[in-house]
Symmetry: D3
Subunit: 238 residues, 6 copies
């Protein structure tokens, strides 16, 4: 019934390759089906002005899509002279989500910037960015711990995200682009590996949904994030 | 226990004054406690390029805060040369939310722009904007129906929104600014008057939440939006 | 003969309501007929770089129009990405005008920003902004004097402004929009309450004017500003 | 008494060299003392959207200062990414002033853009721009008339401008930079050659002025503009 | 003697993997040592306004670097709000270079946009972009020819580019970053596969060079581009 | 055979008038035929952040064209809100070229900004800017040496530039606009007065060139720059 032939609660094949760039303190290429996102983590000693001197760390994120990551070419945001509203929304979400899994005291007064650049898009890029972004972050923090710059682990649990939606009247897990463009209701669920919630964004375009439907979607999401958490752990064992 | 002395499930006093500007096709000043938002609806015959010739209508929204609507003065976005990420996020939410309650075929090929300008802020400005924005929209559509430009009512049910969050460990309805700035978990719930969901945005900053907590918040939100829907209907009886 | 039926030397009904927002150090809503401007004054301890350490104070102003303050909707300047030429011109005029009535030594090294936001426009918004802006400034300075932060009153006399022009061949006071859009010659006169001049801006679009005409307009302006000064004093008695 | 040794009612030496660039339809270099402005007029067949099809012409102006036209180097506006408020104000003034002397029906549906670029600044650049700009405009219109594109002369009388101010307590004509930077009160007067007024902009920074003072300044301005009109006519005899 | 141990006339290991993204009409990942650039070609039916209706085709290019493609993180240009001068220079060079190898009549009135995005940088990104960009272009054109949209091959010969410079007093081929940052003299040579020159950009920062040196560098470049041309042909055999 | 009737190796008449503005530390108007560029040099005590405290000096350049320096009016870059790609490319080239002839230790920790503004364009504006820019720089440095601020001369040899190209199949020196717009191959050569090379930029648009052709062009360039160097020396004798 799904265009891809997947079961309703079946995620696309996921792979996470770590250490894909030589410069970044942490990096991975996450592939959720045909959605490919390159995630890098950069450690800097400076922090934003509003926490200078507080002893607290900061994690922030930026998001971008290569112009031809999509079916038809998108205008390059650097050429357009500004980041679009969708980009801004997504990178704020990624930053908030990752910070929710960080003990900022333990991190100490430094900033880690997670860049998520979509190489190829087929739906669910923001969720792949959060999941892969956490891996890059984890690898960068591992480096800080190896050198002793950070003593107590500031990352308690993986942060993962998955999209769910109602496609052809059925709740489905991990929408690809053909599903996403049809679904009147869909959402993104960000959780810790143990199921605690960080962010829920359900949205209906030209439709509505009910609480029972929402409960079903959330159950799917829990399943998906749990699976992702296993992979995140596997590829980041120090 | 709440700074304002309100019960956990008690909204702030709400008032909606309609017809507050002489130029707009629909307008109201909504006050949720000390949060005051001026909402206007403008009807235009043109539509965005992507639906030109489709026969479908469009509803969009813009949001702004007066520089001294807040405790300390914010920089004017027009002077800064761009709308901030928060502004963009909010106005996209308002537009999506209002569109969810619109039959775009019935509206016909025209655009209604809802402007929500915060005169005074004390928490919950995006929810007040959605609730008041719908009232302005309703009044503008009433005009279209009175002149016969629109025959079948494109607005089936009021769209309302309210924030909920966990304050001092307790789920509370309609956070004001002192609560909002303390709450680690809060969210915005947009619904039709009958409780059908349009948008759910739960977010945790430096915290997490559980599904039972989410359920409690959603119950509070249903109560709040139902109350708002009554007021919306009362002030927009044609 | 005037569209509104007013006498040639008759201003529109004017009202000034003070204390209209809870956050600003000084605020008022000034209404000159159907032109409504919200004016707020914000006190900050910092001053612009070019007077840092001089002991002198600074007063500056910003001006904006809500998108639907006008007959047809204007594009929001924050969305357009810059303030238009007219906006820049007007806010520079407001700032210069208010500073002309300020003893900057007595004010001390602090900055007061006066924001003038047009809620509804029907001609004469810049004059209403100056007149209302002075009220907001006066109220903010009153606060500084009450706390002892400022000892000697830096505001010696109200600053008021009114427009005059030649409509249908006759010099008239306080043009409303229907007059303004017809008048080939019009101008703005900013004065102290005692008639001393601060700024005169006479302008002809597709027309010219003579010195006797200019004298007549100036006499009208003196009458108008004197009336405004009475109201400004009445509403700002400490 | 004046830094330059001039009489109170004496202008600086003025020269206007025409035909200084080979590409423009009209051009001149105007020198008012050490203030040198290059003015060019460009004829184009297109007009702004708001008069398309009306049969009316349009005259507009742009103004710029070379970065080192001033005592210390100014930042290049193209590099800064926008025209400053002062620039915008000035070019709007130049455009309005020139249009006041144009019969837009006689001009026909075409646009003339007058560019005024300050090569060297020593006070009074906006007045020199208007006076020189009219010369460039006149020369361009002469060309249109020679080819028969325009039949009836759309320029009835020269448009000229001069600054006046109160320097060391005395009304003086044509302020240079040392005077301008000291004068608390100064203004710009734009007139037709026969003394009819187009624009009056009197402004006091940290001071006020009286009507008798204003009368004195206006008399000086009339003298100055009459002298400029003679020169404008002399250099543009077809 | 070279940091990498390479001979003076030895290029880094080069690989070109084609078909790396599923959406683009042509794509490749080119690796010149540790410099990795993703190149995609997009075919569109529209052309720039200046050739509309001419029957001629257009090839243009855009260039970007991922923020952490470099040793320390660069600011994202989309966030900075504009493309830097270096970016603009490079993408203009890529576009000019590719067009030099295109028969624009044979291409027909359509546009091909080549996007070159640097995934990892280690010197020579602009040369890799040209070389890889041609491969993407070739693949896209192959598609047009396969469908019959283009009959006569518009690409006569591969366009390739390589950098050369004077490092530690010796002319060397294909500088990597450690060499590039030391070399006072370096340049980029763009050629057709048969050695005909398209673009030569030699530049000295704080140094000069002689004609004999230039001749030596050019001979190295010819060798390098010939090797690249073999690889370009091998991977794009239709 | 050349439109101007010049010999293949004949430059246009060149004149360099020095001291043309009263504010700049060094200035000249360079005319290469109908190409006229005003060059000014500004000395400032501050240097860019990346060399602060290094003791080294900096030379940078900015380039602009007046809107009607060209056959048809160009949009003013300040009004467009940014410098175009061509402008950025050219001003970077001017800055690099001038720096190549500067001993930055001898200059000491100060910055000299060379502004090159094209008053009238007829081809070769970037070369005229470099040649004239060096004259302005030389004059400014002379001032520093006269006051003793700089002891050892940081400018060893003039920096000059000239364009060459293949016009109607023949290599020609110093292309004017009619030649430039026809030439498929042209380039700019920047050299010290003694022929040592600083920058070579050969470019083919829709064409290619050979090494023998390049050699011919370079010989022409050497001749041209040598002639320019004589003139540069003559007008800047301290």
């Amino acid at each position: 019934m799904r265009p891809s032939g997947r079961d309703l609660s079946e995620m696309r094949p996921v792979s996470i390759e770590v250490g894909v760039t030589k410069h970044a303190e942490g990096s991975c290429m996450i592939k959720m089906g045909d959605t490919h996102v390159l995630c890098t983590a950069t450690i800097e000693d400076r922090v934003p002005p509003f926490i200078k001197g507080s002893g607290l760390g900061w994690v922030t994120a930026e998001y971008g899509m290569l112009p031809r990551s999509t079916t038809s070419r998108m205008r390059r945001e650097a050429a357009a002279g500004k980041q679009g509203g969708r980009t801004v929304e997504i990178q704020r979400l990624i930053g908030r989500s990752l910070r929710a899994g960080v003990d900022r005291v333990a991190l100490g007064e430094r900033q880690i910037t997670v860049d998520c650049d979509v190489i190829q898009a087929d739906g669910g890029t923001r969720c792949a960015s959060i999941t892969g972004g956490w891996v890059a972050l984890r690898l960068a923090v591992n480096k800080l711990m190896k050198t002793g710059a950070v003593i107590s682990d500031p990352l308690v649990s993986p942060v993962g995200a998955v999209s769910c939606g109602i496609y052809a009247g059925q709740p489905v897990l991990d929408l690809d682009y053909p599903e996403d463009s049809e679904a009147g209701v869909d959402g993104n669920f960000v959780m810790l590996g143990d199921g605690r919630l960080i962010e829920v964004q359900m949205s209906a375009e030209g439709a509505t949904f009910t609480r029972p439907q929402m409960d079903e979607l959330m159950a799917l999401a829990e399943k998906g994030v749990a699976e992702l958490a296993e992979m995140q752990k596997a590829v980041t064992v120090a």
